[in-house]
Symmetry: C2
Subunit: 395 residues, 2 copies
């Protein structure tokens, strides 16, 4: 089970710098969690993940359940050893992908998209297709259309076999457009599922090898978010996830409502966040962990972070720029290659383009969160935030 | 200009172990040349190429001419610096791809296929589509259908800008099914092109930075192969390429006819060969260098070399084999991953599958040729060949 300690709290905010200790190593927080969807960070080797000084990798329960199956992963000793990652690990509950990639594919349950599949923001009400009942979520595999049921119990069983250090309770991830009545009803269900998740987890993990995070939902309603923070926060979880969709404005408010009420001595993970502005706001609002596929998905499409904002390397102007993507960047890509070379690889649709771009974007976001942590420790957070965001967003 | 020295000749064969010195470093021969088609070894970073102890990288003139264009590559200082490869380099003449990927696409000029495109072995006569004249080869870009002309002079000019240490004279790569009369006529043209290549090369490269290899063609006709070896061999080239299609049986004979006549003190490169049996036979027949896309193309399709022959990792039996691809292999992939994990990545169509498989197959072939070299030096070649081939081909 994890140990969480807080090294420093930033006056006048909910931000804190701390440390999570797991059986596979320490995580200095705030920390960005690198997403390794199917027990692989897309286009990278495990050696490249280590070279990025990634602290923790999160794999998706939905994907590994469908392929290769949790039993195969268990035989490998868990998804970490399976992919040759020996640091701290997390898995999500599978619920979010069951909604967004499974039966409810194409409905508005997604703030992020998963894997290579873009989830469009339509106005279809989730639940109509996802077949949510009090028992669990019935969904069809996006791979072969086969029908599956995730319950709080089965999610715990699958995550037990996937073997991550930190796992998540099974929750219903509602659409941000779902009305108050649906959100309220869903929240009650998520609370019941949280208790069932805890119960099954405790029965499975008698030696406390895994830490279970409860998930706070509630849409955009302050009343519901606060209720969820109080009720989920009162359960004996080892940490908390904050789920659901947020606009950039929400993060400073909705996440703050939740974190003001969650127990201070447990880590808080904001699910699916990876934009610079969101990261600053979420840290300020008291979050410790973030995961997002955006750095690698953007990278595969040629959209690259620089301190002066995003660029798309496929743009014609880059084909003869014999300088690094970002001259101050210390990543492998920037210290070995030019914009011209990356532009060439993207135009040639070479696989190495995705690797080099992913290395750069992950390095950028990992270092950003490290710098945010350092700025909490030396009380320069507000100045760092202002300078970084002004330059990045050219305000 | 290169310096070639022979360290050891194997009695009773044409095999020799030697060393090529270029301005970017030494190549111990026999050596396998790693193919970096578009100034990238598909799915690998330059660091990964270095980790494989690759000695020399060959890029394709046709591909780099079309994209990004030789002027961009020249501005980067040549294709080596462009891709962050600082060891010895080669480019081919562009002729082969102009035939096989350009206008003559789909005709039978290919013993290998290039890039991701399979070239089928039809009975269409090359030249009908490729528009070969004494001036050069007119072809259409496989990228956009635009029309281009390669001549011996333009090939030298492009290769000069691409900046490799070793380059090839422009030749006509004939179909193995072309009749004697066509082969004979073509050979006369290749001879004229060889002289024009030399002339243009000498005018461009006044400081002798590049070494030019002449190319020996002649199809399957001993008379023509020997004539080509004598005439091309008498020209002041720095080395020789042996082109055209060969069956497994041809390599021991046709290549031997050529190498018995070529000057002994210059390196010989057999173009497009990368199968274990072919490598042994070609070394025995006096070749020093080989390039082939097969190791990486096979890898991307899941076909992997082991000392017990090829396996296809997509086969169902591998999904729960928690052992390395080849237990004795020292490559990154085999020392970090299991067959089960690779099977999972291939089934999930993950890009990392291609990287890990390419690392393994290149390591396998690079080490094989290193071992062949060692077996020449310690007089165990025949024993090593017999043992390796018996096990690999299960004879």
């Amino acid at each position: 089970m994890l140990k969480f300690s807080i090294h420093k709290k930033l006056d006048g905010t909910l931000a804190r710098a701390g440390e999570i200790e797991t059986k596979n190593g320490k995580i200095l927080t705030p920390a960005f969690v690198t997403v390794g969807t199917k027990a692989t960070v897309k286009s990278l080797t495990s050696e490249q993940i280590r070279s990025l000084n990634a602290q923790v990798v999160l794999a998706n329960t939905y994907h590994l359940y469908l392929q290769p199956g949790e039993d195969i992963v268990a035989k490998a000793g868990g998804f970490g050893p399976f992919m040759d990652w020996h640091g701290p690990t997390m898995t999500d509950s599978g619920g979010f992908q069951a909604f967004s990639l499974g039966a409810a594919f194409g409905t508005a349950v997604s703030k992020i998209s998963t894997s290579d599949v873009e989830v469009s923001d339509t106005s279809v009400n989730p639940g109509q297709l996802a077949k949510v009942t009090d028992e669990g979520v019935t969904f069809k595999s996006h791979l072969d259309g086969s029908k599956h049921l995730f319950t709080p119990e089965s999610s715990m069983e699958i995550q037990w076999k996937l073997g991550a250090d930190m796992i998540f309770a099974f929750d219903e991830c509602t659409s941000p457009t779902a009305p108050y009545d649906y959100q309220k009803k869903s929240l009650a269900r998520t609370y019941e599922w949280a208790k069932r998740s805890l119960e099954r987890h405790e029965a499975l993990d008698t030696e406390k090898q895994q830490s279970l995070f409860g998930v706070v939902q509630g849409g955009r309603y302050q009343e519901l978010r606060e209720e969820a923070a109080r009720t989920i926060g009162a359960l004996p979880f080892d940490g908390f996830g904050i789920g659901g969709s947020f606009t950039k404005e929400d993060i400073g408010t909705a996440v703050g409502w939740v974190n003001a009420l969650l127990p201070e001595d447990k880590p808080r993970h904001l699910l699916g966040i990876g934009e610079p502005l969101d990261l600053f706001n979420a840290v300020e609002a008291g979050c410790d962990l973030f995961d997002c596929i955006a750095p690698t998905r953007m990278a595969r499409h040629g959209t690259l972070h620089t301190k002066d904002g995003r660029i798309n390397i496929k743009n014609a102007k880059f084909v003869d720029q014999f300088v690094p993507l970002d001259e101050d960047c210390t990543c492998y890509t920037c210290t070995h290659h030019t914009r011209a070379y990356l532009a060439h690889l993207f135009r040639g649709e070479e696989m190495t383009a995705a690797s080099l771009a992913s290395i750069h974007n992950l390095h950028f976001i990992l270092r950003l969160v490290e710098n945010i942590r350092a700025s909490i420790l030396d009380d320069s957070f507000h100045q760092y935030k202002k300078e970084f965001l002004e330059r990045y967003y050219k305000k």
